[in-house]
Amino acid sequence: MPALSHNNARRDIALAALAGITPTPGVSKPDPIIVVDNVVRKFGGLTAVNVGHLEIQRGAITALIGPNGAGKTTFFNLLTGFDQVDEGSWTFNGIKISGTPPHKVARMGMVRTFQLTKALYRLTVIDNMLLAATKQKGESILRAALPFLWNAQEKAATARSEELLTRFKLIDKRDDFAAALSGGQRKLLEMARALMVEPELVMLDEPMAGVNPALKQSLLGHIKDLREDGMTVLFVEHDMDMVRDISDWVIVMAQGEIVAEGPPNIVMRDKAVIDAYLGAHHDSTLEQDRG
């Protein structure tokens, strides 16, 4: 695990790769890690998600924003296999993964966190971390009762967990129950735990929800570090300051569809985005509305 790196080498690479791309919905990217085609999810008569074409650039931090009920979390659930689409398909690293169950999606290197943090409360912090280690021999029922077969691997995983806990400043809580952590610390634990899977793509569902301002800064730093460590980040967020601060690219959803995408400073001024958040007629007078 590389030490906390505060150089921005990877950010410059990501920005260079994304520079000059026309900011229109569905535009193709030079090196997409995810390519989505015609994904539709309906709940009864409501079309929650209807995404024609979308590409997520590898090695960049991409934000997915939009007003409440825009379908962001549903879209996340679909991509990670937690929900089933009605139509459409998508690829991860060029491999079609639509219809793949969530645990297989995670094993392929695409790991998500949840809007409502899912720390495993009656497990210790270190056990939360160890659970996420991949390819554990001791997780097979045939080997579980024979510790000499998995002890060495367990030690290595413990060392790696402790390194990550140190990096996320949770090492003091190592043997506490996860339930004893504060809301913000649980967010940190969930992110650290996701890294134990050694993902290529980290998908964060509202990483800043319920986190106090001081911890927000450190979370922002950790997310930037993911990119510097070579990971791709896709996150859902409502906090616009954070979106502007850390994202290389912003995708805007409204009523299930992608209404805009582009670099943060351009997207924030986009008419479609302002309409989506504030309504199409927000600056027209009532008389004109009647007319």
């Binding site: 990670t80 937690f82 790991v111 659970l131 029922i141 735990r193």
Partner: protein, 331 residues
């Protein structure tokens, strides 16, 4: 009042055959409920399958006992698969509904006139199907001490039964402290989180159901062999609920809880019964208040009262950690 007799009866029960049966049933439930969070309300079904496999195969089909035991284990695995395949993908409460119904279906099939020839209908099966087992009994004379008293056959069941409990418990201990056990405990906490980290939750839940079910069938073996008979109504829902009582008394998700719970449960049941019986016959309790024939029912009321007190003052059970229990509030 004969206190020596009361002590002898109570301690013999505390380490006796019933304690072994309920300890095994609760060890299975501990795997399901305590570690994996599976709400199995049909543990009696696994005991019935174990007990009837032995009795039917030996009496009606002349199987040697060892083979009947093996087939009994196989049958409990089949039952676990039948229960789990349709329900483990659903929410936990559905498993509770299906398992309680399944155990009743098993009991009703065992009682039915249709299979009377093999399963003995409502009378069950009585026979010398434990002959292979009791022929090996080295303790023909039994045991008679001031504190423990067993006849020859019971002593053999008690000795082999506790050996079985210790072996099963040791395997359980190895399993739950392994990374495999960690996955089970995580599933109990939050299935979706475990899925998001790349574990096949369905597979682990099935493995847990099968292992707990096999241990349940062991309890059925002991039940059948110790009595040399099986009766369908012994495998009703009350059996499952007593097994849960034993487990929660000891403290769920604690390896030794089922043993401690079962010992305490049976000690109290017999101790209270003997005390009441002697107090009534000695005239300390007037006949108009409690008659000798009512003692059997009243002991359950008093044990029930005791359990209510336990849940109020020590909800985590004997071995549990109150702080850990409080965490369930999802603060």
């Amino acid at each position: 009042m004969d206190f020596i007799f009361i002590a002898q009866q109570s301690f013999s029960a505390a380490l006796g055959v019933n304690t072994i049966i309920f300890a095994l049933a609760a060890i299975g439930l501990n795997m399901h409920f305590g570690y994996t969070g599976l709400l199995n309300f049909g543990q009696a079904g696994f005991l019935a399958v174990g007990a009837y496999s032995v009795a039917t195969l030996v009496v009606s089909f002349n199987f040697p006992l060892w083979l009947a035991l093996l087939v009994g284990i196989l049958n409990s695995i089949i039952l676990a698969l039948l229960l789990g395949l349709p329900t483990l993908r659903l929410r936990a409460d559905y498993l509770a509904i299906v398992t309680i119904a399944a155990s009743e279906i098993i009991r009703q099939i065992a009682r039915s006139a249709t299979f009377n020839k093999y399963l003995g209908g409502s009378d069950g099966i009585t026979g010398k199907f434990g002959k292979d087992f009791f022929d090996r009994n080295p303790f023909k004379n039994g045991l008679d001490t001031p504190f423990l008293r067993y006849n020859g056959n019971d002593l053999w069941v008690v000795v082999t039964g506790w050996a079985l409990v210790i072996v099963v418990l040791f395997v359980m201990w190895l399993l739950v402290r392994s990374p495999w056990g960690r996955v089970l405990k995580s599933i109990r906490e939050d299935e979706e989180a475990v899925r998001s980290l790349g574990k096949n939750v369905y597979l682990y839940k099935m493995q847990s159901l099968i292992i707990g079910g096999i241990v349940g069938s062991f309890a059925g073996f002991v039940y059948a062999l110790s009595r040399q008979s099986v009766q369908p109504d012994n495998y009703g829902t009350a059996l499952t609920f007593f097994a849960y009582t034993v487990l929660i008394l000891g403290g769920a998700a604690r390896v030794f809880a089922p043993i401690a719970g079962s010992i305490i449960f049976w000690f109290l049941l017999v101790f209270i019964e003997q005390m009441l019986r002697q107090a009534v016959s000695a005239g300390y309790i007037p006949e108009w208040l409690i008659g000798v024939n009512q003692v059997g029912q009243i002991r359950f009321m008093l044990v029930g009262l005791g359990l209510m007190m336990l849940m109020i003052f020590r909800p985590q059970g004997i071995f549990g950690d109150r702080k850990e229990l409080a965490l369930d509030a999802r603060a």
